[in-house]
Amino acid sequence: MHKKNTFLQKLKAWVNGEDTLLHADEYIAKRKQPQPKQWLRSPSVEKIKSNRALYSFLCVLVAMVFITIMMVVVSELPTFGNASNPGNNEVMERYLEKGIEETGAINFVAGMILDYRAFDTFGESNVLFLAVICVLMLLRRDSKNISAAEEKEIAEDEALDAVDHKSILQVGAKYLSPVIILYGIYVILNGHLSPGGGFSGGSIVGGGLILYAAAFGHQSVQRFLNFRTFTWISVGCLLTYFACKSYSFFTGANHVGYTIPKGIPGHILSAGFILPLNICVGLIVACTMYGFYALFTKGDI
């Protein structure tokens, strides 16, 4: 814009509003963006992490403070092993004194988790089943999530695996895995009579299956446990469990009209629903354990 020297020119410019426009342009170009004032600069995690020594020191400090706080709490806790501690209240007395009469199980813990608190155990079985389904979603290998290089690598691995004799493992597994699986079944079936139950016995059976699969390859286990049978066993057991424990809810809560024969406590066929529930839980846990192994090694059940 040319310079305005005469008064008339200036007046004209003022009337037309050129002046203000000019200044507005300048102002817009020059002005500073209003910035929010940062009173408290947040410490950046990367900056602290780049200083390794400081980061380690802070970690140890935080953990030490944590331990100290909890130590103070522990020093205020009731004495270890004292019978009059608040945790040992009437709930425990009820379970121990009425347990055999009401559940028929000699193992009080089995009677507690599979009769008094059976829905809690049902939730646990569901958690396990959900975990194996989530792992399946993440790790299942199919044509969509596998590249050609990976496929070649897997084929190479399998070829090497077929050549490998694994004599010690195979002989060991041949004699050990039936014994392990049999012992697991014993633990499951004796869950209401002795220490054990569905969870521990199921893990033992799963361990036997894993040993067998490691020695003789996945194909040998897939003869009787493929994805189809896995789904049927897991879902069938969950539904059986649900049906069994819904019984007391359908007939009114608090076991009103609960007429399942308890049998003689101490016999193998006793304790009402606890034996079938233990079998259900054991099957779910065994399938889950083997499923984790198969998914992590081969990407398929």
Binding site: L77, G87, Y95, F108
Partner: protein, 124 residues
């Protein structure tokens, strides 16, 4: 202080918990982080088992036909530990599956490296 020595199971479980927590913070390798998480889980089981114990009593399984609450230890924490073990197994399996996917995608298990790579890819 003397009370801490009497309650040494609880004190040991608290120290174990702290060790696991420190492992979780200090390790950069993701699998080692989950080992730390499992140490913390174990500390909780030890704490619960210690809470259920009563001196001079036997495990809660009928022995010699004695039905008496003063003869057995508390069975409730055993059930709670069982729940804890199941949840810990599920969480460990799920997180290890996620770690495997991360390794396939980024080619490293180092936490900082993964964060840097993901930020770079985001910036592109």
């Amino acid at each position: 202080m003397t009370h801490l020595l009497i309650n040494y199971y609880e004190a040991a479980s608290v120290i174990l918990f702290g060790i696991g927590f420190m492992n979780l913070l200090l390790q950069n390798n993701l699998i080692k982080k989950f080992i730390g998480l499992n140490i913390m889980d174990t500390a909780v089981y030890l704490f619960l088992a210690a809470q259920g114990y009563i001196t001079n009593r036997v495990a809660p399984i009928l022995t010699h036909g004695i039905v008496d609450a003063d003869y057995y230890i508390n069975p409730v924490p055993a059930g709670l530990v069982l729940t804890g073990i199941v949840v810990s197994v599920s969480v460990t399996a799920f997180s290890l599956a996620l770690v495997q996917r991360l390794y396939k995608h980024y080619g490293t298990l180092n936490m900082d490296e993964i964060m840097r790579l993901s930020r770079e890819r985001e910036g592109e």
